[in-house]
């Protein structure tokens, strides 16, 4: 149902200079408003006439939401900071290279120049049934077109599906979860801070949203504590095209190892469920064990417990298993260097 992909529809454009102004606009226009960050997810929706907001609130002029600063040994990244700025920032590269790698593997250089970290974590799913405008569960309907006996669902979920089998496509999200990041949200009631892993919601909780952001709220910043600074990191993304594609599956791990054994670990994956998943069962199982292939193999088997394949995505189960195995056992060899 995609039409006139190169022409923007009519809407009223606002470019607030502050978060307060933006929130006032969201309060005023409610569900008629659409928040635009880098525009890379938004423009598809708008040009295809699938989403038809009357008002677009473009956050590009809100300079207070841009930039990276050091806070108590950690970082605070404005939501409007571009992915390129994240990738190139010296503190990110030096202490939190996991995020730099995840962000650098997102899309293409041009897109990373325009796309923001806030937009990357808040982007909608790429399920083509949904994005083509079919009235599926996620669009307010009563069916998942990707989970029917004849559906084309190679990129869809193997874990935590609940009616909808769409997946979250963000590359920076699992890295932020592995770094124990916190998402700073502002709304009419003030500021609230949620852990990165709780920022994302699955279809069991809210089938029409990917995050806990309410329509009148804004993600303003992402805080990364110093906890995992300098830890051993592993990020790997598997995609169909190596130059520019969404992940089929990606994995992000932060690990502290002493005496060859894993002291602490955070591991998260994306592309397998409607939200990026922190693999807490894997974390618990590998603590105190050597960071080697045997532990990785055990971790991989735990990671895929409960996985259910659809018609065309069974390959994701061994893919997830092997990525988790490599994240645990191959950290030394695969450490990313910018």
């Amino acid at each position: 149902m995609a039409v006139i992909r190169d022409v923007m529809p009519a809407f009223e454009l606002f470019q607030p200079a502050t978060t307060d102004d933006a929130l006032a606009l969201l309060a005023k226009y409610g569900s008629d408003a659409w928040v635009l960050a880098g525009g890379l997810d938004s423009f598809d929706w708008l040009k295809d006439r699938i989403k038809r907001p009357k008002v677009v609130v473009d956050m590009s002029q809100a300079s207070g939401l841009r930039g990276i600063k050091e806070v108590n040994g950690g970082l605070e990244i404005g939501a409007m900071t571009t992915l390129t700025e994240v990738v190139r920032h010296p503190l990110v590269k030096e202490h939190f290279s996991l995020l730099a790698e995840g962000a650098e593997l997102a899309a293409s250089p041009q897109i990373r120049n325009q796309g923001t970290i806030g937009g990357n974590v808040s982007q909608d799913t790429r399920c083509w049934y949904y994005r083509s405008g079919w009235k599926c569960y996620r669009a307010g309907g009563n069916i998942c077109f990707a989970d029917t006996p004849t559906a084309i669902n190679r990129e869809h979920a193997i874990l935590d599906a609940d009616r909808c089998v769409a997946v979250n496509p963000s590359d920076s999200a699992p890295a932020l979860i592995a770094l124990d990041a916190q998402m700073v949200i502002r709304g009419p009631g003030g500021e609230r801070v949620v852990n990165a892993q709780d920022y994302f919601v699955g279809p069991d909780i809210n089938i029409m949203r990917m995050t806990v952001l309410k329509p009148n709220e804004l993600l303003t910043a992402i805080r990364i504590p110093g906890t995992w600074g300098g830890a051993k990191f592993y990020f790997e993304k598997i995609r169909d095209r190596q130059v520019w594609d969404f992940p089929l599956v990606n994995v992000a791990a932060a690990m502290k190892v002493s005496g060859g054994k894993i002291d602490q670990i955070r591991i998260a994956v994306n592309g397998v469920a409607a939200r990026p998943l922190r693999l807490t069962a894997v974390e618990s199982a590998v603590i105190g064990k050597p960071a080697d292939a045997a532990t990785g193999e055990m971790a991989g088997k735990i990671a895929i417990q409960g996985a259910v394949a659809l018609r065309f995505n069974a390959y994701k189960i061994p893919l997830l298993r092997n990525l988790v195995k490599r994240a645990i056992g191959g950290v030394q060899e695969a450490a990313w260097k910018s």
Partner: protein, 273 residues
């Protein structure tokens, strides 16, 4: 406001998909308005109920306590009530701003409700008087008399009730309709989600049939919001509270019986003492 939402199917057909969820608020507000209106009417406008007098010789035979609901009936009622509340909360709380993982709890409560209804059908039809809850000719004549007397017309006083007042019987009929609607549609809708019982089959029916099934499920569901509100309201009204107590303890006392019930229409036997 549209009552039913439609969508274009992959075959280019406009099919219903569900009710407008604004109806949740419409039914909630309608239910509340009814309660307030009824409370005002009873407090300020209603005339005292007048019934035919019970002959003293019949009244003398009525024991101190009269069994109204057996233990089995009471258990059924409270199990059904728990299932119904679970269904309403799991269905509508996420729609009004309290998101949680509701689907599994919803169909589990639905199964409990379905099982309790099946049990009730067998129990009521084979172990109780199945006609006691359905309006009879006397109920309809007396309802007419009550209505005319409320309008000030000189008609004979209505007779007292049989085991169940006319309002109970009317409510039961509406609950039968809505309850069967939600359980039958809900049973088929379980084929749309993953459960341990069936293999998912979204193609069990065509888009149009599925759509109307969702609409009927939704209409009956939001209707139950108002119906349950009314039920709870009447359960806690002072003049009805004796009946509510009987749903806990099983019996009503002689005074309440003689005030509202006709010993000729509700024959108290030894077994009910």
């Amino acid at each position: 406001m549209e009552i039913i939402e439609f969508a274009r199917s992959p075959w280019g057909q406009d099919v219903p998909i569900h009710i407008s969820f604004t109806l949740i608020w419409v039914c909630g507000i309608a239910g509340l308005a009814f309660l307030i209106g009824h409370a005002i009417y009873v407090k300020f406008m209603a005339k005292p109920e007048e019934f035919e007098v019970t002959p003293p010789e019949l009244a003398a035979k009525v024991p101190e306590k009269i069994a109204r609901h057996s233990l089995v009936s009471r258990l059924f009622h409270w199990v059904m009530a728990a299932a119904m509340f679970t269904l309403l909360f799991t269905a509508f709380l996420p729609k009004v701003g309290f998101p949680f993982a509701w689907v599994t709890y919803h169909w589990m409560a639905g199964l409990v409700l379905t099982a309790s209804i099946l049990f009730h059908l067998i129990h009521a039809n084979f172990f109780l008087d199945p006609w006691a809850i359905w309006p009879d000719k006397t109920d309809i004549e007396d309802a007419k008399r009550r209505l005319l007397r409320a309008r000030g017309e000189a008609v004979p006083a209505p007779r007292k009730f049989a085991k169940y007042p006319m309002e109970n019987k009317m409510y039961h009929m509406i609950i039968v309709l809505t309850g069967l609607s939600v359980t039958i549609t809900g049973f088929f809708m379980m084929f749309r989600v993953s459960t341990p019982f069936f293999t998912r089959n979204p193609y069990l029916f065509g888009d149009m049939t599925w759509g109307w099934m969702y609409v009927l499920h939704g209409l009956a569901g939001v209707g139950l919001i108002a119906l349950i509100m009314a039920h709870v309201y009447f359960a806690i009204r002072p003049e009805k509270f004796a009946m509510t107590k009987s749903m806990v303890f099983g019996s009503i006392d002689r005074e309440h019986f003689l005030e509202h019930h006709d010993p000729k229409r509700w024959v108290v036997t030894e077994s009910s003492k």
